[in-house]
Symmetry: C2
Subunit: 490 residues, 2 copies
C-alpha cells in the first residue's frame, strides 16, 4: 500500500497528492476545483476546530452565522476589497430551473432572474459590516467579537486538494473596537493564537510577522501572518490576521458614540484559518511511508493490531485486547482495534502507517502469554516491547514524546534550511533549492516585484522577532533596517 | 423590555417574530430570505449540534464534507427528486465579475459563463451518491454511514426566521447498506434518535410516524418524521428520516458485490434536522415574558444579578459573587455574572427573562450578610430564598426539575389539544381552533388533497404507536385500518 506512494524526493507534488488520496483524506469532486473531504480528513478538521474554537472562546469571542450570499453592490463599497475578489466570484443569477420547452431537459428559467446578482461569499467583511451597522451605536456595544465557521468560494483556476480549492471551509473572525489601539492589539492577539495553535497542536513551527503592502489582504491596513516551511523548502501561509482600520466602517457607515459623546467610525479586524491547514499538516511532517500526524490532532491515536490465525484464536485474545483498549481509553487516548479477519497484519501495519496513526500496538498469542505488547511509534518507526500492565502510562508518555519530537524535527529542518544571504546572485542560485532566505530589502514594491519576477520568490513576512540590523537591499543596495523572509510559496 | 413583546394570545405570529428579534436570536439580513443567526441564537445551535453529533457518533456515523455546488445535470438523474427541488434552486451561472465597460460599476463578466450551471445544494443526495459510486465496490465497504453539517439553500418565496429561510444550516446523514432490511432499520434508528433528542434535550414531546405518499421527500420510498405541537395548536415537522430504496443507487449506478459474489444496487437512507429546530424550541415553550429555554440547551443556565448601589458596594460583594459563580461552574453549570453598572436590576431581570435563562439568582447586600440567595425559576417564575452554601446542589436539582417540568407542560398541552373526531363537519369547525386530530382516512391521495383544500389541514403522520382500530374515513366513509394525525402545519 505505502509502496504506491511516490517518494517525496522524486516528485514532491505527486507524493503530496498520493498521500491525500491514499490516506483517505480528500478527493476531487465532480465539480471543478471543489473537493470532497472524506471522513478521515474531516476528523482532523474537527480536531482542529475544537482546539481553535476553545482558544477563541477563551479570549472572549462568540460564534454567529451570516448569509452565504453577498449582494453584488456590497462588494463594490470598499474599493480595494472588490479589486481583490471580483475576479474569482461565483455568481448566482437565477433562482429557478425549469424543463426546457424544447424537451431538452433542465434549463435555467429566464423568468427567475434575480434583480441583483448574488455572489457566494469569498470572505464576509461586506455582509458582516452591513449587519454590524445595526448592532453598534454606542461604545457600550464594543468590542464586538464574532467568529463564524463557514464555507467560502474563490474561483481559483489552478486548484490543489486542501491547499487551494474553489470551495473551502474556514473560520473568519470579525471584530469591532472603539479605538485603533484595541483593534491593533486584537489583530496581534489572534495571529499569536494561530501561532500557538500551529506550534502546540500541529507541531509546526511558524514565523510570525507582517505582510508587505503588496501581499496584504484586499482592504486591510496591515496583514499579520504565520508562515511555515514545508519539506520541499517552500513556504505555506497558514493563517492571517488583518487590521482593517476604519475602512469597512466607513464603507458601511458604522459609527458609534464614544464615552465623550462624540461620533466616530469603528475600528475593525478580521482573521482566518482554513482547511488549508490540513495541507500544511501533511507537508510539514509526513514521509515516504505516509502521513505522520501529531498526536493532538490524530483522529486515531493508537491502533491495536492483534496477530492471529483464524477466528477462534482471535476470540481467545479478545477479552485481553478489549482490556488493553479500555485502559488506554480510560487514560483519554483514542484507540482503534483492527480485528479485520480478511487482511494480513503486514498489510494492516502499512495501512496505519500510511494513515499516520502515532502509535501501533501489535499483540500475538505469545505476547498474550508473556503479558507483553509490541509498541511501534510512527514518527521514528522504532519498536519496543513493554509489559502489558504498563500500556496506559507508557503510551501517554509516548504520545507526548512524539508530539514534541515531530515539532523539534520540523524546527531543525527549518533552521537547517534558513539562510542569511546578502548577495543577489547567490540568492538567485540558492532559491532554486528551496528554503527561507533572510535578506535585506529596500522596502519598495518595485524591488519586491522585480525579485518575484526573476526568482518566483516573495517576501513571506517581515518577522516580529527579527533583530534590528541595518544593511543594504540585496537588489538595489538601498538602505534596509532589518532582514525579511524571502521564499517560494504555495 | 418584555413589554415590547406582543402577547401570544393576541397575535401569535407577531409574538414569535418579536421573541426571535428581541431575544437576539436572529434577524433578517440584507439578502432576501436569508437570516443572520446572532451569537445567542447560534449558541443554542451549537448546543444542539453537540448533542446530536454525539448521538450520531455513538451509533457509528462519521462526518464528512461534500461540495456546495451540484452540477445541474446531477439533479435530473432522479426523476422525482428534480421535480421536488428544481423550482427553488439558486443557480450559479458565472465565475467572475468585471467593471462595466460603460463605467456603470460591477457587472457579471459574460466571458466567464460556466459551461454547465451549478446549483447551490438544496440537499446533497445527488452529489453524494455520485461520490459513493467510487467508494463502494464490495459488501465490505458497507454500511457506509456519513453525516454532513452544512448550509443548504431552497429559494422559498415566503420565509420566516428559523422556520423557513432560503439558506439554513442543517445536518444531513447519507447512508448506504447491503440490504433493504438494514436500510429500513437505519431509517427507523435515526428518526428515533431525533425523537429522543426532541424529548430529552428540547423538552419537546413529538409524535413519530411515517408520512403519506403525498408528503414524502422527493425521491424517497418512505419518509419517517417527528411532529411537534406548537402553542397555537399547529404542527411543526421537526426532523425527517428517509428510506430511499435503491432509487439513488440506480440513478448514479452504485452497485456492490455481495458475499455471494453477485452484483446488486446499494440501499440508501438520508435524514436531517435543521436550524428550524430553534423555531420549534421557541414556539414550544416560550411565554409572554420571553423565551423559556430547556436547561440542557440554554447557552446560559444561571444568571447571577447583584443588587447594588454604586461601584463601591459592588466591589465589596464581588468576592462572594465570584465564589458562588465558581461553585456553580464546578458543578458543571454555565453561569453569567451580570455586573453591568448602567442598568437597574429590574431591567436586567426582564432582559434575562426575555432571553429565557432558566435560573436567576439575585443577591443584595443584606442577602450577603445573611448568607442567602434569592432564586427565581424562569418556567414558573417562582422565587425561593435559600442558604448560599446550598446553591450548587439546589440549582443542579432545580435545572433538572425545570427540564422535566417544561416537557410535562408541553405534553399536557398537546394532550389537551389532541382530539378524536369522526365527523367531517365537526372536524372542519374544530380545526379552526388548532390542535391534532386523530381521524380515519381512506388512504387515498385524493381524499387527503380534498381535506387539505377545504381545511388547510394535512396529514402530519401515520403514527407508529397508533393502535389498530378499524373505522371509516371521515370524508368518504371508505374503510380505514387506524387513525392518522391531521393538523394545520408550519
Amino acid at each position: 500500500m505505502a509502496k504506491e506512494v511516490t517518494n517525496k524526493e522524486e516528485n514532491y507534488s505527486l507524493w503530496y497528492n498520493n498521500l491525500v488520496m491514499k490516506a483517505d483524506l480528500a478527493e476531487n469532486s465532480a465539480v471543478r476545483g471543489c473537493m470532497v473531504i472524506k471522513p478521515y480528513g474531516y476528523a482532523i478538521w474537527e480536531k482542529m476546530q475544537a482546539a481553535l474554537d476553545k482558544m477563541f472562546k477563551d479570549t472572549g469571542h462568540v460564534n454567529a452565522y451570516f448569509p452565504l450570499f453577498i449582494p453584488k453592490s456590497f462588494l463594490s463599497k470598499e474599493a480595494e476589497h472588490v479589486e481583490g475578489f471580483a475576479k474569482e466570484c461565483a455568481v448566482v443569477t437565477h433562482h429557478r430551473l425549469m424543463n426546457s420547452p424544447d424537451g431538452k431537459g433542465l434549463v435555467v428559467d429566464p423568468a427567475a432572474k434575480l434583480e441583483e446578482e448574488l455572489v457566494i461569499r469569498p470572505t464576509s467583511e461586506t455582509i458582516i459590516w452591513n449587519t454590524y451597522k445595526n448592532w453598534i451605536t454606542s461604545y457600550r456595544d464594543l468590542p464586538l467579537l464574532c467568529n463564524q465557521w463557514a464555507n467560502v468560494v474563490r474561483w481559483e483556476m489552478r486548484t490543489r486538494l486542501f491547499l487551494r480549492t474553489a470551495e473551502f471551509l474556514w473560520q473568519e473572525g470579525h471584530t469591532a473596537h472603539a479605538t485603533e489601539q484595541e483593534a491593533i492589539e486584537e489583530t496581534e492577539r489572534m495571529v499569536n493564537i494561530y501561532a500557538r495553535f500551529a506550534r502546540e497542536f500541529m507541531a509546526m513551527p511558524v514565523i510570525v510577522g507582517s505582510k508587505t503592502a503588496t501581499e496584504r489582504f484586499a482592504g486591510a491596513i496591515d496583514t499579520l501572518c504565520i508562515e511555515a516551511m514545508m519539506q520541499d523548502g517552500k513556504a505555506l501561509q497558514s493563517g492571517t490576521s488583518h487590521f482593517l482600520g476604519q475602512n469597512f466602517a466607513k464603507a458601511f457607515d458604522v459609527q458609534f458614540t464614544g464615552k465623550d459623546g462624540k461620533l466616530d467610525y469603528v475600528w475593525a479586524t478580521s482573521w482566518g484559518v482554513s482547511t488549508r491547514l490540513i495541507g500544511a499538516l501533511i507537508m510539514a511532517h509526513s514521509d515516504n511511508n505516509g502521513l505522520v500526524l501529531p498526536p493532538k490532532l490524530a483522529p486515531i491515536q493508537v491502533v491495536l493490531v492483534p496477530i492471529f490465525k483464524g477466528e477462534e484464536e482471535l476470540n481467545t485474545m479478545r477479552e485481553q485486547l478489549l482490556k488493553v483498549k479500555a485502559e488506554l481509553e480510560a487514560a483519554g487516548i483514542s484507540v482503534k482495534l483492527d480485528d479485520r479477519d480478511n487482511l494480513r497484519s503486514g498489510y494492516k501495519f502499512a495501512e496505519w502507517e500510511l494513515k499516520g496513526v502515532p502509535v501501533r500496538i501489535a499483540i500475538g498469542p505469545r505476547d498474550m502469554q508473556n503479558g507483553a505488547l509490541e509498541i511501534a511509534r510512527r514518527d521514528t518507526l522504532e519498536k519496543q516491547v513493554i509489559p502489558m500492565a504498563d500500556a496506559a502510562a507508557y503510551v501517554t508518555d509516548l504520545l507526548q514524546s512524539i508530539q514534541e519530537n515531530i515539532y523539534n524535527k520540523a524546527l531543525a529542518f527549518r533552521e537547517k534550511n534558513t539562510f542569511v544571504v546578502d548577495n543577489y546572485e547567490e540568492f538567485k542560485t540558492r532559491i532554486e533549492d528551496g528554503g527561507f532566505f533572510l535578506c535585506h530589502w529596500d522596502g519598495t514594491a518595485e524591488t519586491e516585484e522585480k525579485i518575484k519576477e526573476e526568482t518566483k520568490a516573495t517576501i513571506r513576512c517581515i518577522p516580529f522577532d527579527m533583530p534590528s540590523e541595518p544593511g543594504k537591499c540585496m537588489l538595489t543596495g538601498q538602505p534596509s533596517a532589518h532582514r525579511v523572509v524571502f521564499a517560494r510559496a504555495y
